[in-house]
Symmetry: C2
Subunit: 213 residues, 2 copies
């Protein structure tokens, strides 16, 4: 399809598409003449992901480009490729290494991951920004004097495991590995706020069930 | 206890505590002389919550005050009191009522809530900012052309229901209703980022289990 059709089907203006092309967020089309290029369904799909990252996730262009570099890196194994793309997304704060509660939080997280048998997370440890932001969250609990009960966190983590199984089942309905990784990235940006809304609604629902309004 | 002990036990400087007192975020102590007041465990607990809201949740002082007003409002039923406190927390964006996909998103959300049998959420509808931000998330999916499968969302919502049951069980271990509502607010601010980290780690773990690294 031509640029005008890509614009029409995606609902993105041609000026914005040209900007994304210049910034390397979408691969160039197949040049068919000096002034025209041809685009395909892959471009449409990529455009959708770029909008999810930039318009919904509010990522800076440079961060979006980094995420997409990992999505496209076929030299990586699937878990690492997925991980690298998710790692490039914005995370919560990293732990403050000078704070006394950080060592305690790190020990809590190690105990939790051991209890869960999450060997990949244990092995990668602080290499992963997701792990670092988990340590930072637990450090906040410790610093403020909130309980950090491994039993409670384990139950919550088992629930997230179930969600992950559904997520990967859903991902596998997509044909290529690139599409699957794209889907996982879009899901992190688009579905996490949605899940948090569902969690808060579920709490009200359960409260109404137990205590009335 | 005196202000100095409150400061020592909470790790918050006396200057910051005085600021919170002036801003009405912590109730005044019991005046015992012209220059001294006495504080109790309730003050310590409230101070912890204020730090969670302001230092971790990065809420503006006015928003924190609004949240605490609902926490303290004993005229409300428990579900409404909990809901009102959570509603005052920051949410995702509200839906754009002029956008064509918003009506479709609202229909999807109504179908989802009906399928789930979440009658409180259905009844409150757009009165709740949580509901509005769910509609906005679904509208993003629709606008970008991502699938919005009610079956998938129902499965995810059922998982969040399980999490809510654990949350309320945990809440009930706290003595008074005020403490329970405080706990729910702290949990929304402190545990949501933690759960999202667990979700991303669970995805990597499940991916490693299925495909290796």
């Amino acid at each position: 399809m031509r640029l005008s059709e890509l614009s029409e089907r995606s609902g993105v203006s041609t000026a914005t598409i040209k900007y994304y092309l210049r910034e390397g967020l979408i691969p160039a089309g197949l040049r068919v003449s000096a002034t025209q290029a041809e685009y395909d369904e892959g471009h449409l799909r990529r455009l959708r992901l770029v909008r999810a990252l930039i318009q919904v996730g509010r990522l800076p262009v440079a961060t979006a480009r980094e995420v997409l570099t990992h999505v496209d890196d076929e030299s990586l194994g699937r878990t690492i490729r997925l991980g690298a793309a998710l790692w490039a997304l914005p995370h919560g704060p990293s732990p403050d290494e000078d704070a006394p509660e950080t060592a305690e939080a790190r020990a809590h997280v190690a105990a939790l991951l051991t209890e869960l048998g999450w060997s990949t997370a244990l092995e990668l440890g602080d290499l992963s920004p997701v792990h670092r932001s988990l340590v930072a969250s637990v450090a906040s609990l410790v610093r403020l004097g909130y309980p950090c009960d491994i039993g409670y966190l384990t139950r919550q983590a088992r629930i997230m495991e179930q969600a992950a199984v559904h997520d990967l089942d859903e991902m596998e309905t997509y044909g290529s590995e690139a599409e699957q990784v794209e889907k996982a990235v879009a899901s992190a940006v688009l579905y996490e706020p949605l899940l948090m809304s569902l969690r808060r609604l579920a709490q009200s629902e359960e409260s109404a069930r137990r205590y009335g309004l």
